[in-house]
Amino acid sequence: MYPKQEVIAMLLAGGQGSRLGVLTKNLAKPAVPYGGKYRIIDFPLSNCTNSGIETVGVLTMYQPLELNDYIGSGRPWDLDTSRGGVHILQPYQRSSKVMDWYKGTANAIYQNINFIERYNPDYVVVLGGDHIYKMDYSKMVAFHKENKADCTIAFMEVPMEEASRFGILNTNPDYSIYEFDEKPKVPKSNKASMGIYVFTWSKLRQYLEEDELDPNSSNDFGKNVLPNMLNAGERMFAYPFEGYWKDVGTIGSLWDANMDMMNPKMQLDLSDPSWKIYTRSMEMPPHYIAAGASVQHSLISEGCNIYGDVDNCVMFGNVTVKPGAKVEYSVIMPGAVIEEGANVRYSIIAEDVVVGKNAVVGSRPEETPTSEWDIAVVGAKVKLGAGAVVKAKEMIDEDRMGVE
């Protein structure tokens, strides 16, 4: 018998994140490193813990090895409890005939009804694993209860000119939703859905079961379940969220979100002791800055050894920058080595990459034709030979010899 949990969370972490290209070649998107020592999934997991949610199901499917290992027993997030804690839920063979992957976001939850039922919850919070934000889900649940809602969807006000990129919620003055507008050409409001849902479990269960019986459904929350609920006249509310919320689903937005970390005015305060973001940390000594090094306006993690120049960078643990190397406006993931004289600009360098002597990666936007400029990306474990060149906008996942 499992203790009843009033609220449990289900975290959808099965997506590939194909727009992150080589970064998610062997890695599920929620496990992508962010902010010098975190991974994307640290944010929703820490938010759960800090919101008092004790049971979290993490639904993994795409390249789950590293992500599953990373979550482990859930200890870094204080989710290793016997009352619930974190559970990794992968697609499984349900009977001798039924062997499905998760067909869509709603189907993923449907396949885990047994898991949810063990805790007999009143409310289920459904989360994604692709945003950087701090949010108290308990306040959203309180809002849901106050409104006697069946479903509550968190939204963020976005600039009107960007609203057509989002799923827009059109609401009455009391925040009840009367219409969903998926990426509208002419938006009626700027309330963008954040993909964070609170459901009254008995209602959600009913709609998931109905959705499963519909052969034409793509078993997706946004496309099927939510519109069905609205059409049936269920009580659906929009919950206003204010604060930092950033999608990191593309190379550009991932780089942007990392650069935000250096902005002293950024709304996301990761040093706030009352709402820490927890992460599985590596066991490394403090980082070392050598006498000849220069470090400006950057974020540096433990285990780094910096002998060269670093300007406007996010350096993950155990990165080495050798003497004479220059790194600017870049994100350097754990274990990468930047050799002597190398020049890395406006780039994302993935884990354990070696940038050879005098190699050049990326270029400054002001020195590059606009059509040819974007962030350069070097995939995990790639070795760049001495003098190798990786142009702006390039994305490589194979070793490259240099031209000395």
């Binding site: 902010g35 010098g36 020592k37 200890r75 870094p76 250096m262 002293p264 990761l270 040093s271 820490k276 973001i277 927890y278 992460t279 940390s281 066991e283 490394m284 000594p285 403090p286 980082h287 070392y288 800055i289 050598a290 006498a291 000849g292 090094a293 220069s294 470090v295 400006q296 306006h297 950057s298 974020l299 540096i300 993690s301 433990e302 050894n305 996010v314 350096m315």
Partner: protein, 371 residues
């Protein structure tokens, strides 16, 4: 495979008096070191990395901070169903607090008797080193030793009480033990790390107690140098030994040497510590950091040179901090000028202050001070 027939004993309070300022409110084991560690992290991680899964931590006084740091031993993978980490505070009626190693061992006799391991590895918390204890145990067995003493060869540490030096013959056998040596020059000296067969240790302690003997070094090592087969094992790698405030300062500074860090923090034998969940260190515009070790959670907007900054230290704009050891969460105000200081935790130096020590006499500022 779990377990390896070696029981670990750590003395967390031994030699507290050598750095009285730092141990006023804490044990030797919980003295902060190296930017993110406590002294106990080194022997405890060595034990964990050598496969030791049962460790008794002997405490006497001021051990709240130590218990807070070590907790159940999870960070060292020692929170286990089988064996694991055990705190051994003083207990029992009529027992006076132990004053020496024999007294401390006598106080944990039940723990020693109830353990199953064949060997005991004992250590204090004053040595910062990364070593494979299995090698010491293998040498102990190979030599058929009664007691193996881990020694270091080099300049004697600047210890007020002097240091125990050894003469070791070609075969590794200890032939002479000299106490309180204050010689200069290169010597072979005891690091207070010993391997003994558990049952033999119990016998030694019982015997010492019956004869009212008190001093492990004098009454067992020195007095038993011919009676017992005492062998030395040289630790050839780096060892930083805390014997005074000055040596504590030098030890922290020595971590600025890449070779020392490589020896202390190899990737395959990490030094574990309690996790604090700080964000990475943030460098502001105009920050200038040279030859320094900086832990997570620091915010640096001023100049830092030849320093060790612990987790969560703030260096404000225009501040100039040189040759200093600054512990967790201390704040250096704007335009301060600081040289040769040891700041304990949570110290705040207000703007525009100038504070100077000297290389041979770093000035210590106690925990929570406001300057």
């Amino acid at each position: 495979m779990r377990g390896n027939n070696v029981l670990g004993i750590l003395f967390s309070n031994m030699k507290d008096q050598t750095i009285r300022e730092l141990t006023e409110m804490r044990t030797m084991g919980s003295v902060p070191v190296g930017g993110r560690y406590r002294l106990i992290d080194f022997p405890l991680s060595n034990m964990a990395n050598s496969g030791i899964t049962r460790v008794g931590v002997v405490t006497k006084s001021n051990y709240r901070s130590l218990m807070d740091h070590v907790g159940s031993g999870k960070a060292w993978n020692m929170s286990r169903k089988h064996s694991g980490l055990v705190f051994l505070p003083p207990y029992g009626s009529g027992n006076v607090l132990y004053q020496n190693r024999i007294g401390a061992l006598s106080g944990i006799r039940e723990f020693l008797e109830s353990s199953k391991e064949e060997f005991v590895f004992m250590a204090d918390c004053d040595v910062v080193a990364n070593m494979d204890i299995q090698e010491v145990v293998r040498a102990h067995v190979a030599k058929g030793a009664d007691i193996t003493v881990v020694y270091k060869r080099g300049e004697l540490p600047d210890n007020m009480d002097g240091t125990t030096t050894l003469s070791v013959d070609m075969d590794g056998r200890v032939r002479e033990v000299l106490l309180h040596s204050r010689d200069t020059g290169v010597h072979t000296f005891d690091t207070s790390m010993y391997v003994v067969r558990r049952e033999f240790l119990i016998q030694l302690i019982n015997d010492a107690v019956s004869h009212n003997l008190k001093d492990f070094e004098a009454d067992i090592l020195q007095a038993g140098v011919t009676r017992y087969r005492i062998f030395g094992f040289e630790h050839k790698g780096y060892a930083g030994i805390v014997t005074s405030m000055n040596s504590y300062y030098q030890l922290n500074k020595s971590l600025l040497d890449a070779d020392v860090r490589a020896q202390l923090f190899p990737m395959d034998r990490p030094i574990y510590t309690k996790v604090r969940d700080d964000m990475p260190a943030r460098y502001g515009m105009g920050a200038s950091v040279k030859n320094s070790l900086v832990a997570d959670g620091c915010v640096i907007e001023g100049e830092v040179e030849n320093c060790v900054l612990f987790r969560g230290v703030t260096i404000k704009k225009g501040a100039r901090v040189r040759n200093s050891i600054i512990m967790q969460s201390s704040i250096i105000g704007e335009n301060c000028d600081i040289d040769y200081l040891i700041l304990d935790k949570d110290v705040e130096i207000h703007s525009d202050r100038r504070l100077m020590g000297f290389e041979s006499y770093p000035v210590y500022i106690s925990k929570g001070s406001r300057v």
